[in-house]
Point group: C2
Chain length 87, copies 2
């Protein structure tokens, strides 16, 4: 069993209004030392495969077909081996 | 300058409808080996502090006051040193 830790982030050239809003709110709270904020998604997938390549393939397909917008977003996948757990 | 990589995740006992929806969609796409999906937030903060403790304090306050719901969510903070960049 593998766990895929996936980060989906906006490409650097794409404006991030949610990050700007958080940045502004932190400024209002008095945290002037925050220079920039970018918001992304963090997705955890538990994949019931014994083969690492197979698990990576599933995670990659999930990102490309469902989780990330290929025009605006980048993604990274980090796989780790985990114990099977009761769902 | 520090960069804080923040993960905000729903506590394990909290139902994650967004994760369930993604899980269901992956099933429809034919990826039956995906056992569980949990969705979280990934926030990158660039903090203009020279002192590591100070930077961690700012990141922690941002999580507690703004980014995470303390009843339903957990957060982790990982700090790294980065070069200052033009905002």
């Amino acid at each position: 069993m593998y766990k895929a830790n996936i980060h989906v982030t906006l490409r650097p050239s794409i404006l991030d209004p949610q990050g700007k809003a958080v940045h502004h709110a932190l400024g209002s709270l008095g945290y002037a030392s925050v220079d920039k904020v970018r918001m992304g998604k963090y997705v955890e997938l538990w994949i019931d495969e014994t083969d690492r390549d197979q698990a990576e393939e599933v995670a990659r397909a999930a990102c490309e077909k469902l989780l990330a917008n290929p025009v605006m977003e980048d993604f990274t996948i980090a796989l780790e081996v985990v114990e099977a757990e009761a769902a």
